[in-house]
């Protein structure tokens, strides 16, 4: 059978002022019609550049240096730019990651879709609008007629991604390239979008190149898989073969780094490290069921002000009646989709936000009424690690100063020589070199920065760390390092975590207890195994079924 799209020995370079990056090195693969081909890899592995090379949409600094891209036997790299314009859209379409920025905010949705149709096909305007309506119906928009006359900001992220798909499909392409189409979406919406793509593909019979870093998604959609690293394809296999027995060590390592319920109590595998089968039994601190932190009927409402006098006309009920208990040495996971108020809970506990109502006690001490000096002493017990490792470190301060800052502010250690010593010890603890002290944050990668954040939190010897999605901005293998570190610290120091996340696989790996949040309230709360295996509430069931599960054989 003749393959639809054939890529031979493709290489792409990015030329920077000082050096040349070989973003894609000698990549070859084929995609057949009706087939889903997944390109998997971590950030910087060259998967997006490969996709852009195929559609010839590379930025100016990047150049294709060798190879060919054959679509139906036609070499796309030999085409002129004008010929390429008709190929893009009618033969090859792309969907990008960010549905918020891929649509023009000042043009109505219907017009945006029709625009590309009129450009590529000889079709009358009314006919194009009629087809547009069909397409929007096909991608599952509930009220296609109305949606056509709306502007992008009036629709949610999931709906916008559906519209992007509709635009991509408008001209019946032979090949659809989807570059991380669901990464910016919540799991339940991700599930809908994946299902939609699958359905449309079987109807139209197009080839689909699916680019992602998420192996769970890959298993759900892909027929064949290529794993990329440092610009090269290290392994190509069919989906069944790959998940049954990955051949390349890097593929194995990627699979092992994914946290899951089966790996509870084990360390996740990291590059060059053997998996140790340690169990909970050698834990130094045994949890004595001491209630460390109690949150009772927490309410956080944000006032909506209007008019000249800024009168309060209503409230956004971000958090409504949330109650939680955290025990010493345990991990409580707070799970929910974006906008459910889970971060607000975390920030309220460390008193970064003013709470509206409710009680919070830490070791029997009332947190809500604390003020001034007492609040400051209490801050050393409760610390927070944020999601984005790039914005949570001051770019103008040395790493040593950053870690030291909390100790100085809270008066943990007055002597500066001793402080320096503690900083060194902390860096060692989070597995960073000692000379990191005298460097600036921009010299570190995302995972290293997150470890600096953890070291900074540890510096004031807290009893509870609130982890606000600490790994969601990181690659799986880096995520594994951070999760291992958190686990080790819990064993060594008896740390308690309130782990805020949307990622069920992390929850199932790490959490002792789980609280599921939905629209500001907790809908289900209980032991991790109970909640994950026998969910009671409708929303929890929906959430769990939406998560792409990785079945390893």
């Amino acid at each position: 059978m003749l393959s639809l799209l054939k890529i031979n020995n493709l290489s792409t370079e990015i030329r920077l002022a000082q050096r040349v990056i070989h973003a894609v090195k000698d990549v070859s693969f084929e995609v057949n019609s009706g087939e889903t081909f997944a390109l998997v890899g971590e950030s910087g592995s060259g998967k997006s550049i490969t996709a852009l090379s195929i559609a010839r949409l590379l930025p100016d600094a990047a150049k294709i240096t060798q190879g060919s891209v054959e679509l139906n036997g036609d070499n796309l790299l030999a085409h002129s730019e004008q010929q390429m314009r008709s190929v893009r859209g009618s033969n090859i379409s792309m969907i990008f990651q960010e549905p918020m920025t891929s649509l023009n905010p000042v043009i109505k949705i219907g017009d945006q879709i029709v625009e590309s149709m009129l450009h590529h096909e000889n079709i009358s305007k009314p006919a194009a609008y009629a087809r547009c309506l069909d397409l929007l119906d096909a991608v599952g928009l509930p009220n296609a007629k109305r949606n056509m006359k709306e502007y992008p900001h009036q629709l949610s992220g999931g709906m916008r991604q559906r519209i992007m798909i509709a635009i991509a499909l408008a001209a019946n392409p032979d090949v659809l390239i989807a570059d991380e189409p669901t990464t910016a979406l919540d799991v339940t919406i991700q599930a809908q979008v994946l299902e939609l793509l699958k359905k449309l593909q079987s109807e139209i019979g197009m080839g689909l190149i699916f680019i992602t870093h998420d192996l769970g998604v890959v298993q759900q959609v892909a027929d064949r898989i290529a794993v990329m690293r440092y610009g090269e394809i290290v392994e190509t296999a069919t989906s069944e073969e790959f998940f049954a027995a990955p051949q390349h060590p890097y593929s194995q390592q990627l699979l092992n780094a994914i946290p899951s319920i089966d790996k509870r109590g084990q360390r996740l595998s990291i590059r060059g490290e053997q998996v140790e089968h340690s169990s909970d039994s050698n834990q130094v601190y045994s949890s004595d069921n001491e209630q460390l932190l109690m949150v009772d009927k927490l309410k956080v409402h944000f006032p909506i002000r209007k008019g000249v006098f800024k009168l309060v006309v209503g409230h956004v009920k971000a958090v409504n009646d949330v109650s939680l208990q955290l025990q010493r040495g345990k991990t409580l996971a707070l799970v929910g989709e974006s906008g459910c108020g889970k971060t607000t809970v975390g920030k309220s506990i460390v008193r970064l936000l003013q709470i509206t109502q409710g009680d919070m006690t830490f070791q029997g001490q009332d947190l809500v009424s604390l003020k001034g000096e007492k609040l400051r002493t209490c801050r050393s017990d409760l610390q927070i690690v944020f999601q984005d490792p790039y914005s949570s470190l001051n770019p103008r301060m040395l790493v040593g100063d950053i870690i030291e800052e909390g100790m100085v502010a809270l008066g943990v250690e007055q002597d500066s020589a001793k402080r320096k010593k503690t900083v060194k010890k902390l860096l060692q603890q989070v597995d960073l070199p000692e000379d990191a002290m005298n460097r600036y944050p921009h010299e570190f990668s995302g995972g290293q920065r997150q470890r600096i954040c953890i070291a900074r939190a540890l510096a004031v010897e807290p009893k509870v760390i609130i982890c606000d999605e600490p790994t969601s901005a990181l690659d799986v293998s880096v995520q594994a390092q951070v999760l291992n570190l958190l686990k080790d610290l819990q064993t060594e120091l008896g740390m308690s975590y309130l782990f805020i996340t949307h990622d069920m696989s992390v929850v199932s790996y790490l959490a002792d207890d789980v609280a599921v949040m939905y629209q500001g309230s907790i809908v289900e709360y209980g032991e991790a195994m109970d909640v994950l295996q026998h969910p009671q509430h409708e929303y929890t069931k929906k959430l769990l079924s939406a998560v792409p599960k990785l079945h390893l054989h």
Binding site: I384, Q387, S391, N394, M397, G406
Partner: protein, 470 residues
Amino acid sequence: MPFQPVILITDALFFVLTALLVMFIIFARKREHISRPWRKVFKRSTGAVSLVVLLSYYSIAVLDSMHFNPRLDNATSEEAQYSNEILSVLDILMTPMRTQVEKTFSAPLATHLLSKEMVQQADGAMQQIYPRLKYGGAHLDNIAQDKVADIAMLVLLGCFYAVITWSLIWLLICIIYSKKIKQSLSESLARLFSASHEFPVRAIAVTTGIVIAVISISMVVGSYYHLFGTDKVGQDVFYQAIKSIRTGILIGTLTTIVMLPVAITLGAMAGFFRGWVDDVIQYLYTTLNSIPGVLLIAASILLVQIYISNNEESFNSLVERADIRLLFLCLILGITSWTGLCRLLRAETFKLREMEYIQAATAFGVTKFRILTRHVMPNFMHIVLITVALDFSGLVLAEAVLSYINIGVDPATNSWGNMINQARLEMARDPVVWWSLTAAFVFMFTLVLFANLFADVVRDALDPRVSGDK
């Protein structure tokens, strides 16, 4: 001692500013994240070239800010007596131009006055002629024959001095560079001037060459001729234009140090504390912004003038009086110009206070003052630097406009604005006196042009939104 130093208030402030600048350079050199964008500025040839030009202006201003009273040659008294006249180092360097005062107008490089006068001849007869200048071209015997050749000779002489000075300077740089890279002199010379050098050395060398040539030619020619002619009272126009540099630079820089503390504190406070603090500061700057600036400046300059005339005894000389007025002009310009920067910084602080590292600092119980000084301020400094660079040229031009409508610096102070103001009437004369205006224009234009070019490069290098790794 042959002189007695005099430090005017603006001198003191100017030196403090220079010291701060030097301290910043030393401070930044050790900190990679601060010096990196600045290196980018010097790597662009536009940046390096404009910096050389700006530095030459700046050093003239520094020389002109070192004031003193010269000692009087008074052999009879035991004690040293000092003149009341206040001179600067620049005045000494430009002595012939300062002292060679003609009777009235003369054209650039002229040997005769501009207009005819009744002169008594040797035989006693009165005659209407163009009289010879006292100084300009006075050494020539046969003017018609020798003048062009003489000027050409002087230009050549100037070029000769320039070549020697330029070569000496670059030899010195080369020797220092060869010590640094531990190579032979010829090797380091080749490396320094190779096209692939990290910094645009060739462009810098050409610019310094041009600057040195201009200075030395005008010094040599200026000692025998009036380069830009003379004004109504016979003063050398070139000398006036050079003396105006200090005024321009001072207005551009001192205003900034008046404005910066206010803009930074209020902007950061408004953005960080929000609530009523923000309201008060916002009302303050919207109110101030809605008063026409010229009105405010005119009113306060009038006040200062009245104060000076009521307290004449407290000022020793005209120079000091003019200096006070200059200082107040800087102050009032500073007061009217902080609002723009304050608004920018308030918006930036709004953004920064939501950054997670600031929330983390709050979670550590770091005091608000410390968060402001350690976390907020260093992170908006690039905006401050960009604004200062952009505002500088605007302030130099503002001085000219204000002096033109007589609410600028003291009429006795040399400034481009005053020169233009005086030239206004002279433009109507026949034959037209165009050189005052031209001289002021050329010097101001060069300064503002290079300040603008420099500001552009600084913005490109410092603004995170435009600085991609190209």
